[in-house]
């Protein structure tokens, strides 16, 4: 019934066309063919017509777009939902991300990176003309890339080194740096290990020698971090332990588990902060001139999807404004140099987070031997 109804409608639509075409013999032939086709294969005629009409759709779309932008970018989407989905590592990267803590206002997370997230959210609110709430997702560091890839996050931030080359990092883009004294450093606790590295440093020279400093030692790194990527590609003659978090590495070492950890390599500012505050039994490895021993020089940046051009431009601008106004330096000073207790800062300026994502991730995890590559 539905099909038979289409024939008269289609015929009515084609009649003026057929009338126009019947002026010349060739056109009359085409009209006769169309009449015949209409009777026998009306669906095919409809398809041909639709295809012909669609040709103009692009032009029409462009014309409308000139007057009223139909397509939206990621900034528009953030404005519409008045929320920005932000990922952050559940594992502490002090002082960039401190452990989640309870406050008078509920569970909060604080640190250098949360202050940056707040600055970006505030700037988004001004841009959108409405409040934009940051919705923090505290997940495992390695899962941040996965969630961003799945489109569940607009961006994430957790002391991520922008320059780490790895196939695993393809498809992601980085903002301009907000912290430029990163890089990979190392800590150790056993005096004989520290002495051994000092002795090697005295005779070492050049990049290759730097890589050989750790030869024969057991190195611990946090899974999927820049240190992990560095160790995998550069430190091949050592035993590598991959830990779910830095606290897991410290616990492994403290418990005397086998193989015992000789050196932990990781983000230098994080290791530096830890040996000064909570892990005073560990020591930052230094060169002979007492400057920190670093394996790389990295900048920390905000991570986004590669195609988030508008958002990247926006965040770059926020970081630039923070830099120009001196606030970025102030942030660096108050989180890196000042003496403070983070629970108090969490109470006064910490950010709430999405609790639903947390339960499966609260364990600090363990360390395991890296699979040979």
């Amino acid at each position: 019934m539905a099909v038979s109804n289409r024939v008269p409608i289609l015929s009515r639509f084609l009649k003026p066309l057929q009338r126009g075409l019947s002026v010349t013999p060739a056109a009359a032939g085409l009209a006769a063919f169309l009449r015949c086709l209409c009777r026998t294969k009306p669906q095919m005629v409809a398809l041909v017509l639709a295809t012909l009409l669609l040709q103009g759709c692009g032009l029409l779309f462009d014309a409308v777009h000139q007057i009223y932008p139909v397509t939206t970018n990621e900034l528009d989407r953030i404005c519409r939902r008045q929320q920005v989905q932000v990922g952050m590592a559940v594992e502490p990267f002090r002082p960039f991300v401190f452990p989640a803590i309870w406050t008078d206002e509920g569970a909060r997370v604080t640190g250098f990176d949360t202050e940056l997230v707040r600055a970006v959210s505030d700037a988004l609110a001004i841009h959108c003309g409405t409040p934009v709430a940051p919705v923090l997702h505290l997940v495992r560091f390695r899962d941040l890339f996965l969630l961003l890839n799945e489109g569940q996050l607009d961006f994430f931030v957790s002391a991520v080194a922008a320059g780490s080359p790895s196939p695993a990092r393809s498809g992601f883009a980085y903002s301009t740096p907000y912290f430029s004294q990163g890089g990979i450093g190392a800590i150790a606790t056993q005096p004989e290990v520290i002495d051994l590295i000092r002795a090697r440093l005295r005779t070492a020279s050049g990049t290759t020698a730097r890589k050989q400093l750790l030869e024969g030692l057991t190195i611990a790194v946090q899974d999927s971090t820049a240190a992990h990527l560095y160790a995998e590609s550069n430190v091949t003659t050592t035993r590598l332990l991959v830990c779910d978090s830095l606290p897991a590495a410290f616990e492994h070492a403290a418990a005397g588990l086998s193989p015992s950890i000789d050196v932990i390599i990781g983000a230098h500012p994080v290791l530096d902060f830890m040996v000064k505050t909570t892990r005073r039994d560990w020591q930052l490895l230094e060169k002979n001139d007492h400057t920190p021993l670093r394996f790389t020089q990295d900048d920390y940046a905000v991570v986004m999807a590669e195609e988030s051009y508008a958002l990247r431009g926006f965040i770059n601008d926020v970081i630039f404004q923070l830099y120009e106004s001196g606030r970025l330096e102030h942030m660096r000073h108050r989180w890196i140099d000042e003496s403070y207790a983070y629970p108090r800062r969490a109470s006064t300026e910490g950010l709430p987070f999405d609790v639903q994502k947390m339960p499966a991730h609260y364990a600090q995890g363990t360390c395991r031997a890296a699979s040979p590559h």
Binding site: A107, S347, A363
Partner: protein, 253 residues
């Protein structure tokens, strides 16, 4: 004519309503509200004490799942409350009907639920392994439980102190005057109860005194940072720490 009678009736109703609000509440109503306020303060204190008793477990660095669930918390809180008031909140309502005033019969479970909700939300923090101090302490528990309860009921419950660490716990004029009065008096179980706002509101203040366990953060040396980053108060055991303040509007019509 009908409209005129209607307006007259409405005017009379308004006048009589206003008059009854300003009239002194019946003694029985006040007594019920006072007992309800006292029990609410005692229940919040019981919750705080349970957190304090479990502090070592909560701050255990090496343990992930602490097993300190909302249900465990509730059971322990009810036990402390029973020891301090003789009322068993876990018993069927009919059994406690004689000792729990009608007003408290809905408010006490509401406060208990607020406390359980706080413990439930804090699970993500409590169960972190590798993190010692989590700031889930009697004060932060109490602030949240009281705030959540106050949002859900017509009764205002609050922890306050002369110089509170949390600005939201800053005392109002009435609370400040009571706290100053209490600070000059010896430690006792007595509480302050008073009608305010021309008898429309009952205010009850239950003092909290520093115990030995509190002094790690609130004791000597004064001014030195405690673990949470606040300067220690230099308090001694038995000093007034603050009070639980309860504000109940009296419905007299």
């Amino acid at each position: 004519m009908i409209r005129l009678v209607g307006i007259l009736f409405m005017t009379l109703a308004l006048v009589s309503g206003t008059a009854s609000v300003h009239a002194a509440p019946p003694e029985q109503l006040r007594a019920e509200a006072e007992e309800t306020a006292r029990l609410l303060a005692k229940l919040l204190q019981a919750g705080r004490l349970v957190i304090e008793q479990n502090q070592t477990l909560i701050d255990d660095l090496h343990k992930g799942d602490k097993g300190f669930t909302p249900e465990v918390f509730e059971r322990q809180m009810y036990e402390v409350f029973r020891q301090r008031t003789g009322i068993d909140l876990s018993a069927p309502a009919a059994k406690t009907a004689l000792v729990v005033p009608p007003l408290a019969r809905t408010l006490l479970p509401a406060l208990s639920d607020a406390g359980k909700d706080v413990v439930r939300d804090a699970q993500v923090v409590i169960n972190q392994r590798g993190i010692g101090y989590k700031n889930f302490i009697p004060a932060t528990f109490g602030s949240q439980a009281a705030a959540r309860f106050s949002k859900r009921s017509h009764v205002q419950l609050k922890q306050t102190a002369i110089q509170p660490r949390n600005p939201k716990n800053e005392p109002d004029e009435y609370e400040a005057s009571v706290l100053h009065w209490l600070s000059g008096r010896p430690n006792s179980d007595a509480y302050v109860s008073e009608l305010t706002e021309s008898g429309r509101t009952l205010r009850v203040m239950m003092p909290i005194y520093y115990q030995r366990e509190c002094l790690a953060c609130h004791g000597e040396p004064k001014g030195e940072w405690d673990i949470s980053g606040y300067p220690k108060e230099g308090a001694r055991e038995g000093d007034l720490a603050g009070a639980i303040s309860v504000k109940i509007p009296l419905q007299t019509e």
